[in-house]
């Protein structure tokens, strides 16, 4: 019960008035619980095709996911905080990522995030600003591994366009088989 309805029960208050006030609080509790569930705002997926160490690389819809690949659209979405705002409540975002890999593990740490996206370059979907939000990392992958991570809630970033991105600590060989899906979710608390 995050919010409480102000009430003043004085001696002699009729029972039905007390009941009505209790009902108001119960309704508010139910409404808060409903607003507090996580909902999906956007999603992305990708597979390994050889990633350079330290590069925040945009996930692309189709083909490889190298930032130098201009043949496929990146997962771009807009954030407008006012569209999601509810009075007296705080909007939160989070990322949920799932990674599966084959018999050869990538032996790197995969960090997922959303990155400000300001435009496309001449032949690539760049620049992607290095700053990112809501990083969730998957490390210590093993052969035939499945890992899921749920990121901590964070405040929605500034209004604008964002793309799902991935950063690795060590370059990956493009013959390794691993793929992943990421969901951006929101709720109100």
């Amino acid at each position: 019960m995050a919010h409480e309805i102000p009430r003043s029960i004085v001696p002699g208050t009729p029972r039905n008035i007390v009941d009505a006030l209790d009902n108001d609080q119960a309704n508010l509790d139910a409404l808060e619980a409903l607003m507090g569930r996580w909902s999906t705002l956007s999603q992305a997926w990708g597979e390994n095709s050889g990633l350079g160490a330290g590069d925040p690389t945009l996930m692309l819809s189709g083909g490889s996911m190298s930032a130098s690949d201009s043949n496929y659209p990146p997962f771009i979405f807009g954030v407008t905080a006012a569209d999601l705002a509810i009075p007296e409540m705080t909007t939160q975002f989070r990322l949920v990522a799932t990674m599966v890999c084959g018999v050869d593990e990538p032996d790197t740490t995969l960090t997922f995030g959303i990155h400000p996206f300001t435009g496309a370059g001449t032949t690539t979907f760049s620049p992607v600003v290095a700053a990112h939000y809501a990083a969730v990392a998957i490390a210590n992958t093993a052969p035939s591994d499945v890992q899921s991570v749920v990121g901590a809630p964070f405040v929605p970033p500034a209004d604008g366009a964002y793309g799902f991105g991935i950063t690795v600590t060590g370059a990956t060989v493009n013959t390794l088989d691993f793929s992943y899906t990421v969901e951006l979710q929101y709720r109100h608390v």
Partner: protein, 195 residues
Amino acid sequence: MTFTLPHTIVGGERENAAHLMRNDQAVRDAINEAAAKVEYFYGAETYFDSSSTQATGWINHAAGAMALSPSVVFQPWPATMYIDPADYEVDGFTTKWQIYLTIGVGSVNPGITDLGVHLRPFAAMSTDAIDLTGTPVGSVTVDLDEPGLSIVTAASNEFEIDTASAYVLALTQGSSAPGANELFTLYAQLRMWHE
């Protein structure tokens, strides 16, 4: 404010209390209706043509003509997701899930029956393939025996998810593989609501 509750202030406490009670119920009814609204959770899409083989496998995100076999070497972009049902619970309500299919059939009737999509948990990879031995938590089956250029939709029964796990949207083989010039697209949406 779009909606306002009817209320009447009169002299008697009994009448005012009755109004309060009715308003409380109206608010709860509105909350229940809002909770019951179906919302998107996850979507996956792919397409099939005459190069698609015929076996049970997972759905690939737009990976082209599918080889529907769990025995094939690991394929890109399987429709995997992590679901912890606790994250979507709402006190006083039951979370309901459903798989909803939208299939676009090309110009030739594929005449395929019993093509299924299901959601099942998985915890490990089997060599280079997703282990599809987990018990499905929900499924839907559809017949694609329609005139060409049609849209087929189908919804699974509502189901509940009790266990936190990685899940995958997967396919159950139909009566046959697509023949020559038989092309269809498939979009599977996992959605939920509360009641």
